[in-house]
Each structure stands twice: as C-alpha cells, then as structure tokens.
C-alpha cells in the first residue's frame, strides 16, 4: 500500500489547521472533512488533547488549546506573554472603552473585543529587556467613542504589564 511514514504527522497538521480555521468541531466531523480515517483521527485527537494543543468542549467538540496558543506566542519569542496577554488586552479595552489588540510581526495575537477593526487611534510598542520593539498594542475606537487621555493611560499601563512579564525569568 506504500503508506507514507509521516502520514500521522500529516493528519495531525491537517487537524490542527482545520480546527484553527473552522472553530470548534467534533472529531468525527473533522475526520470526514480532512479525510482522515476515524480510528487514526481519534487517536491523534486524544494525544493532542492530552498535550494541551486541543481542548474538549461540550457536545463532543474540540477547539484550539492553551499549548497551541503558547506555540503561536513562541514564534515571536513572546511565550511568557501567552497567559497574561488576554486579561491585559481585555483590561485595556474595558478601561479605555476601545478595541485593543496585541500585534506581533504580521499577526494579531489577541484582540478584545474580537475582531479588531477600524483606524488605529493609539499605539504602544512592547519592548524587551534590551529595548527592542517585539510587539505592539494598538487601539481603535468603539461606537461609544473614547476618552483619548484614558485610552492612552490604559495602553501605557497594559504595555508596562506586558513588558514586566516579558522581563521575568521563565520560573518567576
């Protein structure tokens, strides 16, 4: 039959990318969509669930898990922000009454409320301990309008918090 020795890895990649693309889905649906044999699909999904790359949701659905999110932040050397980024961006959005995102490279890592849209009103660089800009926080307005002073202050404090976590040693 000539099975490719990395067929399982190919299936793993297809599953992760499909869940990222389509959102929460059942393993059965995923196997049908990606044409993965069900037995292999369930085995791979169990391994990804155990490793935290996927999480289990109600009604048998699975979604992207914290380990996969961690991997995305690690692409930009921002693994230490994988946890703090969401509450910090949400806090900045709530305090500044704006839509706020954490942006690195060409990717939005976190947006609150998602999705980020509209012209950027305010921007703060996130710098590592050497002073190099590694990411940025950007804010766009909401329908309610926002107080620019409050928004700038909120972004400053959010950036300070992220830089603080970026500077921490991994075991701190």
């Amino acid at each position: 039959m000539g099975v490719h020795p990395t067929a399982g890895v190919e299936a793993l990649c297809d599953m992760l990318n499909a869940v990222a693309r389509c959102g929460p889905v059942t393993i059965g649906e995923l196997c049908s969509r990606e044409r993965i044999p069900r037995s292999s699909g369930f085995t791979i999904a169990r391994k990804l669930l155990d490793a935290g790359f996927l999480v289990r949701l109600p009604r048998g659905r699975i979604a992207i898990g914290p380990q996969a999110v961690h991997l995305a932040f690690a692409r930009y050397g921002l693994a230490s922000l994988a946890g703090p980024a969401v509450p910090v961006v949400q806090w900045a959005a709530r305090t500044g009454d704006a839509v706020v995102r954490l942006h690195a490279g060409d990717t939005t890592l976190v947006a609150a409320p998602a999705p980020f849209s509209g012209p950027v009103l305010s921007r703060r660089d996130i710098r590592d301990r050497n002073g190099a800009s590694v990411a940025c926080l950007e804010a766009a307005g909401t329908r309610n309008g926002c107080d620019p002073v409050l928004l700038a202050t909120a972004l400053d404090r959010a950036a300070l918090t992220l830089e603080h976590h970026l500077a921490l040693e991994p075991n701190e």
């Binding site: 999110v69 806090w91 918090t161």
Partner: protein
C-alpha cells in the same frame, strides 16, 4: 500504519512542545536532545510540519511557523461568531466612565492547576437578598451563566441573609456538592474566610464579587466597581454644590459591608478639607429607605437646617428625598442629594427638581465575575482585580467645576419601568426585575434564584 502513526504523532507533538519551550528560534541539535528523536525522524517530521506551516526550518534551526500564529485568534473568532449570532445580548459592561487607571504593572493571577472539564459546576454564595441591588446582582450572574449555555453543568445560588455562619455553611455545602468554581459576595470575615480557604484547598476556583475579604483570603480575582470613586466623586460634587460651606446629613449604607465603609471613608476624606461644612448627623441605614426617611424626618422635625444629603446609594436616598417631600418641601426647595442605583431615586429627583449626583454601583459586575471565573476554570490568566466602569450621572444644571456628567439623569431614568429597577445591570433596555425570567442548568420553570428565595422565605 498504526505503529507508524503513533511514533510519528508522538514525535511531532514532542517537537512542537520543544519549540514552545524554546520561545523563538531553536537549534536542531537542541531539539534532537530534548525530544530524543533520531536525526532522520526529526528531519522527516520537521519537513511534514513545515509543509503545513506549523514549523519554519532554517540552516540548523527550527521555529514555530506562520500557521501556528493563527492559533490564538481561532477561539476568539468563534467566540465573536457566537456573540454575533446573539447580537441582542447587550454589552453595557464596556460602557461608562472609569477613573484613570493606576500605575505599575497590573496584578494578574496565573490559572490554578485544575482538571480541564468540558462543563463546570458553579456556585454563588450571596451575602444576602435584602435590597433590590442584590436581586439585580443575582439576575446578572444568572444571565451570564445562561449565556455560557452548555459550558455550565449547573449553577447553584445560596443567600446567607447577611449571616456569616450561614454563609460558611453554604460554601462548605457547595464544595461538598462538587462545585468547580465559586463566586462569593462575603457577609462577614472570620467564618467566611475559613470556609473560602477550605474550598480553595480543595481546588475550587474562587472569584469574589462586590464584597471581598482582603488580599489575604485566597481568591483568583475580585470583581467590583471603585467604591472610593463613588464616595469621593459624590462628596466632591456636594461640596461644590454648597460652595464649600453648609450643613449636611451623611446617610451611608450597611456598616458591616466593606463597599459602604469604603465609600463613606472616601467621602469623609473629601469633606475633611472643608472646615465650613458641618456634618449634622451620620446615620447608617443598611441601604434601606425607612431608616433614612426616619432620620431626615427627625432632623426636620427638630428644625435643623439641612443644606445637603450625602447617600452612597439611592436605595436609602429615596427615603431622604421622600422625607423632604413629606415635610412639605416644594419642587426646587429640596437640597442636593447624592446616590443613584435605584430607578426611584432618579424619578424623585426629576419629579421634585432635586439636584442629584450619582455614580451607580453596577450589578453588571455579576456578569463579569462569571466570565472571569469561567476564564480561570478554562486555564486562562485573570486580572487580580477588575473594576467595572460606571457613569457619573447628574441632573441637568447641576454640573460643577470638577464634576461633569457622563450621563444626564433624565437620559438614565426609566419612567416606563418599576421604581425598584436597578440601573447599570448590563441586562439590556427591557430588563425589569419583576418580569425577569431565565433558563440555565440548575434552575427550574425559568425562575430566578432570587424569586425562589422570596417564595421560600
């Protein structure tokens, strides 16, 4: 095929885990050492991962690929889609004014080590149900639990009647029933803090809402609205209304409740800078209108001149306003009052032309508390303290030099809804406490736990 699949998949997962730990570009030699894979296997796996964009290979290096960068927003996109489908869901927690954020890094809490479950059991230990604000808080919490839908196995709500011993029993019982997360609005310190510590030791995630017990009692987050801001802003407005001199009555809320004490202290601190302001009387009202009415009536009967009334909430403020009306004060003759929350407080002020300033204490914090607890149970970091924003509400013509409105009282009042409506609930324009019905895992006949408690009580 089974054996090949198992080996290759395990290897790929260990490569991805090693890349996560490496935080950026990783040398292939380090990856070989960490994963224990043979060089040829790592090469084959890396090529397959790179083909799908999960890894980028360089000369002797590996790095997470562009497809991995899409992972964080995947769940946010699906959450946004759900929110879009439920577009009628109001989001008033994002609106409103907030004081300028503090300085220094935000305190955050790392997620507790919990077993990830698809459904969570949530308990709410409520201090009491003795005023309309507390009913609105229960409604906001139930609304949020209903919105989480099948992510919640059940929600159980217990009211302690401001009895700390009873609340401790409730917390122990909820833990015995198997709650994963607990919301607590604390009725007292010692017994409740012991019960919370016991719950935390058993791995229950704790989020405090409205009333907390200080930083020493284990909790992941405290969701509130700035009581200091409420007390200081309303007191400053009253001082400026009275041009810095006059006789005022202080009618704070419940002395045993930390929010009331905090507001009162903030108001006193603002008043302390004005020696020409005389406090005629201070009377703790328990956030009930009857004691406020009785106290103001007593002072008026004694012939005391009152130039202003400071209340930390309209719950008791309506008693004070009504006492002036009952004493024969006509429209425009009643001195300035503070304190909002309650629809009737705004109705009375507008009907009798009373200058009024208020910063509502938003029951919408209940919804934020449920969302925070859910995030923590899902393994996310959360803010150690969350202040839900609120507006500065003034009657027209009563803005002062330093206190400007973010909302006018006549735009805020709901003439079409009951007097006991609490505003800033985050439950939408049509919310009425009298007709509120909700369905969530754990209740029956769409009845709110607040309604059931009144029936049983």
């Amino acid at each position: 095929m089974g054996r090949t699949t198992t080996t290759g998949v395990d290897g790929a997962i260990s490569v991805l885990q090693a890349l996560s730990r490496a935080d950026g570009v990783m040398r292939t030699a380090d990856c070989l050492e960490q994963t224990g894979l043979p060089r040829a296997s790592l090469h084959r796996i890396a090529v397959a991962l790179a083909k799908h964009g999960l890894v980028e290979t360089g000369r002797g290096t590996l790095r997470p690929g562009p497809a991995a960068a899409a992972f964080p927003t995947a769940n946010q996109r699906s959450a946004a889609k759900t929110a879009g489908r439920r577009a009628s869901r109001p989001d008033t927690t994002a609106a409103g004014h907030m004081q300028l954020p503090g300085t220094g890094p935000l305190p955050l809490t790392a997620p507790p080590r919990l077993t990830r479950k698809p459904r969570f059991r949530i308990g709410f230990s409520n201090a009491s149900l003795d005023n309309p604000w507390r009913t609105a808080l229960v409604h906001a919490i139930e609304y949020a639990a209903a919105y989480l839908g099948d992510h919640v196995d059940w929600l159980a709500v217990r009211h302690a009647g401001d009895d700390a011993a009873r609340q401790a029993e409730h917390i122990d019982a909820l833990v015995s029933a198997g709650v994963d997360g607990l919301l607590v609005s604390a009725a007292g310190f010692e017994r409740v803090s012991s019960a919370i510590s016991r719950a935390a030791n058993k791995g229950v995630a704790i989020v405090m809402v409205d009333r907390w017990l200080g930083p020493g009692v284990p909790h992941l987050s405290y969701v509130t609205s700035s009581n200091q801001f409420i007390g200081a802003t309303t007191a400053r407005w009253l001082i400026e209304q009275m041009a810095g001199s006059g006789r005022i009555v202080m009618l704070p809320g419940l002395q045993a409740a930390e929010p009331a004490r905090r507001r009162y202290r903030a108001a006193l601190s603002a008043l302390a800078r004005f020696p020409d302001i005389e406090i005629v009387s201070t009377h703790w009202t328990g956030w009930r209108h009857e004691p406020a009415h009785a106290e103001v009536s007593r002072l008026l009967a004694r012939g005391e001149r009152i130039d202003g009334v400071w209340c930390d909430s309209g719950l008791q403020g309506v008693g004070a306003q009504q006492a002036f009306v009952d004493a024969g004060f006509g429209s425009g003759q009643i001195p300035p009052h503070t304190g909002g929350d309650l629809n009737l407080a705004y109705k009375l002020a507008l009907r009798h032309d009373v200058p009024l300033a208020a910063v509502d204490y938003p029951p919408a914090m209940g919804r934020v508390a449920v969302e925070t607890l859910y995030a923590a149970l899902c393994g996310q970091w959360v803010c150690r303290r969350i202040d839900v924003p609120s507006d500065i509400i003034l009657t027209r013509g009563s803005a002062t030099a330093s206190v400007q409105p973010t909302l006018w009282a006549d735009d805020h009042v709901r003439w079409d809804l009951p007097d006991d409506l609490i505003l800033h609930t985050g439950l939408g324009q049509s919310y009425s406490p009298r007709s509120f019905r909700i369905r969530y895992p754990g209740n029956s006949y769409n009845r709110s736990a607040a309604q059931l408690a009144r029936v049983v009580g």
